[in-house]
Symmetry: C2
Subunit: 217 residues, 2 copies
DNA sequence: CCAATGACGTGAACAAATTCACAACGTTCC
DNA sequence: GGAACGTTGTGAATTTGTTCACGTCATTGG
């Protein structure tokens, strides 16, 4: 079966919840319990888990350690990915520490910035280089994933450089959409847009929808 | 017509693109031009714009200033929203400057943190208070929107406090889902999950989909 | 003035995502 | 051992989102 982006996103969150924020003594979980924690419907949980090839048992639920194992397998969590942060402004630097040791398989190994005062030194434990060195270091360190935290006006230009240097996945925090060739994965995180959506539903006129939760029956 | 979240998100991005990253001398734009910039199909752009009640003219396209005016109207951009950042760690502090003056109608007026060394002083131009003062200040400053940047273990507890204090919209950066009562808007931004999705498609096995682009015919 | 153009608006088709509803089946209890 | 229970897995229905395809219309050029 083909796993959609949306399912993928939820699977990663199930895993995070189960491995990091779930009482260690519990060994099993029901779809409706996970649903309650995630704010989703139980049937959606079950649908998502169907993709894994792991099956729960009625009246017992899903064995947590097995579940995590199967999710890891789908996500191919054995591979270590080298990640670069491009743009060491406030946001870039914050992400260095935020992402530090969050996932063992995602390791931030370099940062780049055009500002000379930021390059050629460690920042938050990450070696920061000049943009000029980007191509060489991306290849040398085998970096395939980049987190883009440059100003909107630079975003497309920098993206093109990264792609030429062999980057295969980009998470874009710049407030403009970027274009990428097919074969490169893209995740756009537009914080301003998200905040505006929240503000919209906060207006009296609109009665906020969002993340419904449902009992199974 | 009811505007869906997805459409809403795209509208905010159209506006950002048109007002901030588009040559000032151009007064009109075609659906296919906007589509190319956004990485979407032209027909989707036209569908989205249908919601606005503003109509372009064939062969001329859409008048940019009008378009922006109508989007503003839908988003009710006249209202000023006070926003609080909860959790003044690296990420919270970065968002203070990142969101500074990005949208005139979204103003960060306060921050809160449990760490006493961070409270009762200005950080990045934002007055930062102790969490104990949250309820009082949220009401006094009429803050209805909060950006949650606390550790996952604190997220739900802090959320409950915010909601009790009258917050109507939350943008959650904590790496766990939070539950909110109906009537409160929620936007979850899970950076780790997004990065994992990118990593997934960067693996050789999967051939990355994402943001297709299409000509109209 | 009229035909050709090329973009718009939109009904209809299509696709994706979610929910419903229920059969199947371990488990528990009597 | 057998009936009752409660949860799973999944086909079908529904809802939501996207694309197609074409009629319409303002403009341009002959």
């Amino acid at each position: 079966m083909n796993i959609s982006n949306k399912v993928l996103g939820r699977l990663t969150r199930y895993r995070a919840l189960l491995t990091e924020y779930f009482p260690k003594e519990k060994t099993h979980i029901f779809s409706h319990e996970l649903a309650a924690m995630m704010g989703l419907s139980a049937s959606q949980i079950r649908r998502d888990l169907m993709c894994l090839g792991y099956y729960g048992v009625p009246r017992y639920g899903y064995e947590i350690s097995e579940l995590v194992k199967y999710i890891n397998e789908i996500l191919d969590a054995s591979k270590l990915h080298h990640v670069a942060i491009v743009g060491a402004g406030n946001l870039g630097r914050a992400l260095m520490t935020f992402l530090e040791s969050r996932r063992a398989t995602l390791k931030i190994v370099a940062a780049f910035d055009e500002d000379p005062s930021k390059s050629n030194r460690m920042i938050n434990g990450v070696p920061c280089h000049s943009m000029d060195a980007a191509e060489e270091i991306l290849r040398r360190e085998d970096i395939r994933i980049a987190i883009l935290c440059v100003p909107g006006s630079e975003a497309q230009r920098v993206t093109d450089r990264l792609v030429r240097a062999g980057v295969k996945g980009i998470m874009n925090f710049a407030p403009v959409p970027i274009r990428i060739p097919v074969g490169v994965a893209l995740e756009e995180i537009d914080v301003t847009s998200a905040l505006e959506r929240v503000a919209f539903f906060t207006n009296n006129r609109a009665n906020a929808p969002k993340e419904r939760r449902h009992a199974d029956r």
